[in-house]
């Protein structure tokens, strides 16, 4: 019953955005409240829908809450309709997104208040000059995320996807312009923010155009973008399997890969991941909201929505799923390695996000749909928690650099505890959410790879399992490093240390809530309870009538559980050995530096930025990568071409016209004019001769007349008489 109001879920935050922008721009408090009210209304409505869909149970998959009333535009005889589409995984997302967003909203109310010491030395607490803008943008962002989740058509999905991109750009670049009296940010910060925002938008844009292409080809081939009609079996089979323009690929594979391209862009997978670490320049709630919970998960959600496509493709011999798995796994391990060498507390978390997303994609790639989606939900919670905690640390210490922190656990107990809970969940320590979801994935990978029946993918799945295992270990390692560097050991920067204080209630309350979710939500899909698997797995998906097979918790499951637990604890111990045992002293280089070249590579993030992105250094200046410089050169070249060659041609024509004109003028003056003058003078000449005939003497004329008459007479005579 509530489900036919689902379309209003995104409307509330959107309304909040509009109100803030148009009306309450001046009043910070009021705009904060409007934003929060908006998100609460959305939360209530979405929980309603969530509960209603839970009541529906697994059949929701085949008969989702669906309606597409809005005719967005007609094209030819068909029309493009928008509406809402809620299926089990959608409903779960509907549960996850608003809750996380609400927490972040509450958190950022306090976070955006900066304190600085003015000349007289006493602390001044005052809001960020663009406080209301911040709330406007994040409520717009939330609205778009919700719209994405409930969208019934891939185009609606894409629009939400793109607007989110814009919000991320705006929010990353929130501090990209500095007012006169803004003391809390310095020039470098402004420069970095500016570079990061553009980088984020452009890189995601690249991903978007891949998705756009895939989407349109899908529309072209299947004739519709609506999730319900997209996957009808006959439509998929005969048309999609025809050969696509690219050799060796069927339409289906091509479209799948293109859509996966979108995810790579949005969820910062391997080639297009470079924007996420730099996106940390935005305020921390933004990082939490966008780069932990929602936006990046949108990419994964896209694959989830399109999962039947991938499945059919792999069944018909396409290798799209294989690619997803490989890229996912590789990104997981790749990001984890870089994470080790980062000093910035938020950058470490960023890389961990990238690797966890890699995890999910790997899971989806190997067909573990339920495990992947569960990890997606869990990850959203504990990663948001980690980011907010980190935010609290930064807010109190005033700097991101872990080398300046240390021993903060005494100063900020609640933040410390919540941070530890999040870290343990991330590492996959037992009771916490991360353990269940990560273990599930490793289990599935292990079973499919080593114990399942041989199939063309087994080779890749084995490779995936190995990568995931190593990644798990590395995750534990860098998370432990982070804990020891920030909270344990001796404070390395006295000034920062005594400046640190516990964050206010509005900041640690959300932390607490998230912490509780992180600890207990994992049980939702614990081996024995398996409610989540039942809810999601049983109904299958729109295009896939048969359910996902669910193996009982057999002996292999136990082995993999202990194995993963062991990896996690092993990682933590190694981290303790390096960082915990002899805490790093102030000014002492990072112990990892001893690794030499490997460390340098990791610090420079494999020089990918220099390769095809652009590197934003700390002081705010930007170093343009090869690809960008090449593009710049190309543009200057084309402008030169345009001005010189094409314009040149036009001017040449003009010049040639002038030459021709002058030539013509000369010809005309000389020859034609000449002729005319000649005729004039000749006539003058002849006239001269005749003129003398007029003697002025009357008798002369008479004589001539007479002579004439006489001549006539004679002629007449001769004629008549001869």
């Amino acid at each position: 019953m509530i489900q036919n109001f689902t379309l209003f879920i995104p409307v509330f935050p959107l309304l909040a955005f509009a109100i803030i922008v148009l009306l309450t721009r001046r009043n910070n408090r009021l705009s904060a409240w409007i934003a929060i009210v908006g998100i609460i209304m959305a939360l209530v409505l979405s929980l309603g829908v969530f509960l209603e869909s839970l009541a529906e149970g697994p059949e929701l998959a085949q008969h989702p809450f669906y309606a597409a009333p809005i005719v967005w535009y007609p094209y030819g005889l068909a029309t493009m309709n928008f509406g809402w589409f809620v299926d089990p995984i959608g409903s779960v997302m509907l549960f996850m997104v608003p809750t996380v967003c609400l927490m972040i909203f509450i958190y950022s109310v306090a976070y955006m208040r900066h304190s600085h010491v003015d000349e007289q030395g006493h602390h001044i607490q005052e809001d960020d000059p663009r406080y209301s803008h911040f709330f406007a943008y994040i409520s717009l962002f939330t609205a778009m995320m919700l719209l994405l989740v409930i969208s019934s058509s891939l185009l609606q999905f894409f629009i939400a996807w793109e607007v989110m991109g814009f919000c991320s750009y705006a929010l990353i670049g929130f501090w990209s312009f500095r007012g006169l009296k803004e003391h809390h940010i310095d020039e470098a910060q402004v420069g970095r923010a500016r570079g990061a925002s553009i980088k984020a938008f452009l890189v995601t844009r690249v991903g978007d155009i891949l998705l756009l292409t895939g989407m349109i080809l899908l529309l072209l081939v299947t004739g519709t973008l609506d999730f319900t009609q997209m996957f009808n079996p006959d439509g998929l089979n005969n048309v999609l399997l025809a050969d696509s323009p690219l050799p060796g690929m069927t339409w289906l594979t091509l479209i799948a890969l293109l859509i996966f391209g979108g995810t790579v862009g949005k969820s910062a997978q391997f080639p297009l991941h470079i924007w996420l670490p730099d996106a940390m320049e935005g305020p921390t709630p933004v990082s939490a909201l966008i780069h932990a919970a929602t936006m990046v998960s949108a990419g994964i959600f896209l694959i989830i929505r399109m999962f039947p496509l991938f499945v059919v493709d792999s069944q018909t011999g396409g290798n799209a799923m294989m690619w997803v798995a490989i890229i996912g796994a590789f990104t997981a391990i790749f990001a984890a390695t870089i994470g080790l060498a980062q000093n910035d507390i938020k950058r470490v978390l960023a890389y961990s996000t990238i690797s966890q997303l890699g995890y999910m994609l790997a899971a989806l790639g190997i067909g573990a749909f339920v495990a992947g989606s569960f990890h997606l939900i869990m990850h959203a919670f504990f990663k948001a928690l980690l980011f907010l905690a980190a935010g609290a640390v930064i807010h109190s210490v005033g700097t991101n650099d872990m080398l300046k922190m240390g021993g903060l656990w005494r100063k900020m107990p609640i933040t410390f505890i919540t941070f530890m809970i999040g870290a343990f969940a991330l590492m996959g320590i037992f009771p916490f959410a991360g353990f269940w979801s990560k273990d599930e994935i490793l289990l599935e990978a292990l079973r499919a790879g080593f114990y399942g029946e041989a199939s063309p993918q087994t080779q890749t799945i084995r490779f995936v399992y190995i990568c995931l295992a190593i990644a798990a270990f590395l995750t534990a390692l860098y998370t432990g490093r982070q804990i020891f560097l920030t909270f344990f050991g001796k404070p390395r920067d006295e000034h920062a240390y005594e400046h640190a204080h516990e964050s206010p209630i509005t900041m640690w309350a959300p932390l607490a809530v998230l912490a509780t979710f992180t600890t207990f939500l994992g049980l939702w899909n614990a081996p024995f309870i398996g409610a989540f698997t039942h809810y999601i797995g049983e109904g299958g998906l729109m295009g896939l009538p048969q359910a996902f097979e669910h193996t009982a918790f057999d002996q292999l499951a136990w082995i993999s559980m202990f194995l993963s637990l062991g990896i996690a604890i092993g990682g933590l111990i190694v981290a303790y050995l390096i960082y915990g045992f002899r805490p790093v002293a102030a000014g002492q280089p990072d112990p990892f530096a001893r690794l030499g070249i490997i460390y340098k590579v990791l610090v420079n993030k494999y020089w990918l930025d220099e390769l095809y992105g652009y590197k934003i250094n700390l002081d705010g200046t930007v170093q343009r990568g090869l690809l960008i410089r090449f593009a710049g050169a190309l543009s200057r070249g084309s402008y030169w071409l345009d001005r010189k060659v094409i314009d040149g041609l036009v001017n040449l024509a003009g010049w040639f016209g002038r030459i021709l004109a002058r030539l013509w003028g000369w010809f005309d003056a000389r020859i034609i004019d000449g002729i005319v003058n000649a005729t004039a003078s000749v006539t003058g000449e002849i006239a001269g001769w005749w003129r003398t005939m007029q003697t002025g003497d009357v008798q002369n004329y008479a004589l001539i007349a007479a002579a004439g008459a006489m001549a006539f007479a004679i002629i007449f005579l001769l004629r008549s008489f001869t």
């Binding site: 003497d697 008798q699 002369n700 004589l703 007479a706 002579a707 008459a709 006489m710 007479a713 004679i714 005579l717 008489f721």
Partner: protein
Amino acid sequence: MDLIGIISQVVFFLVAALTLAAAFATVLLRNVFHAGLALVGTFFGVAAIYLMLEAEFLAIVQVLIYIGAIAVLILFAIMLTRSLMKNEDSGMNKQWAWAAIAISTLFLGMFIVILQVPWLLNTSVIGTDIVPFLGTELLTTYLLPFEIVSVLLLATLIGAFIIARE
């Protein structure tokens, strides 16, 4: 040829010779006044010829008009245009030789024509006085020319008067 015929021919030749001589005199005399008088002589000659052609009225009119009026007019003109007592001679102009040649050939041509053309002669004796008939004819068949000529004379009268006015 009877006596009268001969006599008339002799008279004709006489008169013709006199007239031509007077004409030549008019043309050749250097003194314009003498030329004028020679002209009067010619007019008399012509009047005589008219008489020979039995056109008495015309002869008398010729005398009355030509000699009485036109000759006087010419003499008057001569008098007016001669700066007194300066008798500049007005002989021939430059092209008289050419004129002479051209005119003589013209005369020759005409003469040949006159001789060659078979004139249809229709001599009939005029008995009675023809003037009344002339009068009636003048005012009947030739009424229009008669009126036009009168207008012409009027115009001339006015024109001459205006031009010659001081």
